[in-house]
């Protein structure tokens, strides 16, 4: 089934022309094998090899793109069931449900949330990804007005849902040229959806109330050569949604079932009227494999925990999240405020900064690049040691913003204080801080 990088390499031109963006054909082959590149990036591959490779190198779960340019996002392309095995690749898209029964105020408020609710965290921008437009009323005119309003307001992803094919066709015409999706094809309408996918260049969604029905629609898509599709296993409760998602992921990865080898969509918005319950459901389907998660609001208090959770679930388990090296001000420090040095492991930073903030003591954190290692790990790896820390402190510019030469080190590396002082020079004083971040408030207040 899946080919190794070497097997793929043998079928490539082996000219190392770099037209694909990679330095060598072998590097490109390795990426293909890992599902991290598309064969179409190589302009020189022979037709024969292309046919053979396309089938074999297609990821077990296809990648779908929604939205335009930088506002767009990818879902699918997943290769594992448990996140410790290998990273979950393309973070789920979060879409807000809007219908032609919602009043203007609701639509405007959510479009504003879609544009404005955004959080910066460890170098990532966390935000909602688009709109699920639903023809709830079954009324073409009001629905098209909604779709046009949404399309005019955002370049993010749009999924258009109606039970009426004519309405969908009209929406397809209106959105032609954009990366959007039409929802939802059943066994009876699969052929119409395939035709619309070709006509409007869009993604299509297969729907089935049972996995058998869903697989049957998926089979029709695959037979028609559809590459970008989404699976909707039905608008039921959390138990069924999770069960379907687990079954689909297993079928795609373990059984190589092409008809179920697409990302899925889930509807926490339809599972509860209670926002807190909806949030629990949304975050469970996020963790359990949904590619698109449709929610009732993109309100900030709901989106912050939900997008942070998405970031956590999709974090590379082999590479720790890191902070940029530098000086971080907490509680508006002055030139007299204390300076704490620690490593750039994101969790170290979060925990230390939260405690310092809670202490209300104006403080500066001097975050040193230790390849994302925690204090003790970085110390034993020789990265958070006196002869590396001293030059960093001197180049950090900290002496330009404070009028003292005192530096607090984590209690766990108390043993390096003498050497650190020596490396820094006589005018510096190294103070041993607490071992646990939780003891920082008490320590800072006692300085």
């Amino acid at each position: 089934m899946a080919l190794s990088g070497i097997q793929i390499y043998k079928m490539l031109p082996q000219t190392n022309c770099k037209d694909c963006g990679d330095p060598t054909c072998l590097a490109f082959a390795m990426k293909l094998a890992a599902g991290k590149a598309e064969l179409s990036q190589c302009p020189h591959v022979s037709d024969e090899a292309q046919a053979e490779l396309a089938e074999a190198s297609a990821p077990p779960i296809r990648v779908v793109t929604l939205g335009q340019g930088d506002a767009g996002f990818k879902v699918g392309g997943e290769t594992v069931k448990y996140r410790h095995e290998k990273t979950f690749v393309n973070a789920a898209g979060i879409l807000v449900a809007l219908t032609n029964e919602d009043d203007d105020a609701k639509v405007d408020a959510e479009l504003k949330n879609l544009a404005d609710v955004s959080f910066e965290r460890v170098g990532f921008t966390l935000e909602g990804n688009g709109v699920f437009c639903w023809d709830k009323k079954g009324d073409k005119d009001s629905f098209l007005a909604l779709v046009n309003k949404v399309a005019a307001a955002t370049e993010k992803g749009i999924v258009v849902s109606s039970a009426d094919l004519d309405t969908l066709k009209a929406a397809g015409e209106a959105l032609k040229g954009k990366k959007f999706a039409l929802h939802a094809a059943t066994a009876d309408t699969a052929d119409d959806f395939v035709a619309m996918a070709k006509e409007y260049g869009c993604t299509i969604v297969a729907k089935g109330d049972t996995l058998e029905d869903l697989a049957a629609v998926g089979e029709k898509f695959v037979a028609a050569g559809i590459k970008e599709a989404i699976l909707d296993p039905g608008w039921t409760g959390i138990r069924d949604a999770v069960t379907s998602n687990i079954a689909i992921r297993r079928a795609a990865l373990d059984k190589k079932a092409r008809e179920l080898g697409f990302p899925t969509i889930a509807f926490p918005c339809a599972m509860s009227e209670d926002l807190l319950e909806e949030a629990a459901y949304a975050n469970i389907v996020l963790a359990k494999y949904a590619g698109l998660v449709v929610v009732s609001t993109l309100d900030a208090a709901f989106m912050l925990p939900t997008t942070v959770n998405r970031l956590n679930v999709y974090t590379d388990p082999q590479r720790p999240m890191t902070m940029d090296q530098g000086i971080y001000d907490i509680n508006n420090p002055t030139a007299d405020s204390p300076v704490i040095i620690t490593t750039n492991f994101a969790l170290t930073y979060f925990v230390v900064s939260a405690e310092v903030e809670a202490s209300r003591v104006p403080t500066r954190l001097l975050i040193m690049d230790t390849d994302g290692m925690s204090v003790l790990t970085a110390w034993s790896a020789g990265k958070f040691v006196a002869d590396a820390m001293a030059p960093f402190v001197k180049k950090s510019g900290i002496s330009d913003v404070v009028n003292h030469k005192k530096i607090i080190i984590p209690g766990y590396v108390a043993q390096l204080s003498g050497e650190f002082e020596e490396e820094l020079g006589a005018e510096y004083e190294v103070i041993i801080g607490p071992r646990e971040a939780a003891d920082l408030p008490k320590f800072l207040k006692g300085l």
Partner: protein, 316 residues
Amino acid sequence: MAFQFPKDTYSGSILEIAVGSGDGIAKVGGQNVMPLCNFEGDVPNRALVAMEVYDNVAATESWTAEAKAPFADVIGDPVAWAKKCQDEYGAEMICLQLASTDPNDMDTGADEAAALVKKVAEAISVPLVVWGSESAEKDAEVLSKVAEVCDGMNLILGPATEDNYKKIGGAAIGYGHTVVAQTPIDVNMAKQLNILLGNLGVPANKIIMDPSTGALGYGIEYTYSVMERIRLTALKQGDEKMQLPLICDVAKYAWKTREAGISEKEEPGFGDLKTRGILWEIVTASDLLVSGADILILRHPESVRVIKKVIDDVMA
């Protein structure tokens, strides 16, 4: 080709553990499938929600007004607080946090702490978890005394760590209690502590594992994956030393985060504080439920309501 539901097979199951005594006995564990996979095996017991109760007022001083409000009339009275959680908020267990015994806090003595535990245990019918101040030496002293004073009540005592498991484990054996074995987010250390407790003579069905909780945004992905790996080892590889229920102390860590407590004035972009704080706890708990928690310790009544509903939905 007809669609076939791709079922997984397992070679082990989690031990079923009974906690509490008399009419208040509750069972956890016993499942032989991965979390949320009820469709391919047995899940005889749903996960349980414990609510925390603090033995000192100081511990609640840093709480947001929203987190404090549901307990305004009982803070300072652990017995009343525990009863309120059980009777009004539907707590399925109580977790008494002996925060005041911390040598850096009030340093409450073992006798006083044990007397309070007994009073709380006698006032409620649901099982009682007794949590030390996480000061290894002091916990050994306090929890040993608690074990003795509450002889035969089958409390859940913890956390026992590699630094104090002998004393806590020994006392639990002597007086018939269950032990929480806590390790710092590490699969191998978790197994090692279970082996050590076993060698000491603690029966396997008297141990519950605490893999240590990283809150949402503060390392939850580590806890999540360690729990999944513990469960895979227990169920797919049949490793008996890992076939134990999991307890997660959600409340303390979720509510301590910056996001759960910072005001809208300071972070206008973060949205309504009340919803945000409760959701920080709910989302943390949801992740841990998905990765295998059998007991979740929560703080806010709204979190308890929602997580109990979710457990009914996915496990019942």
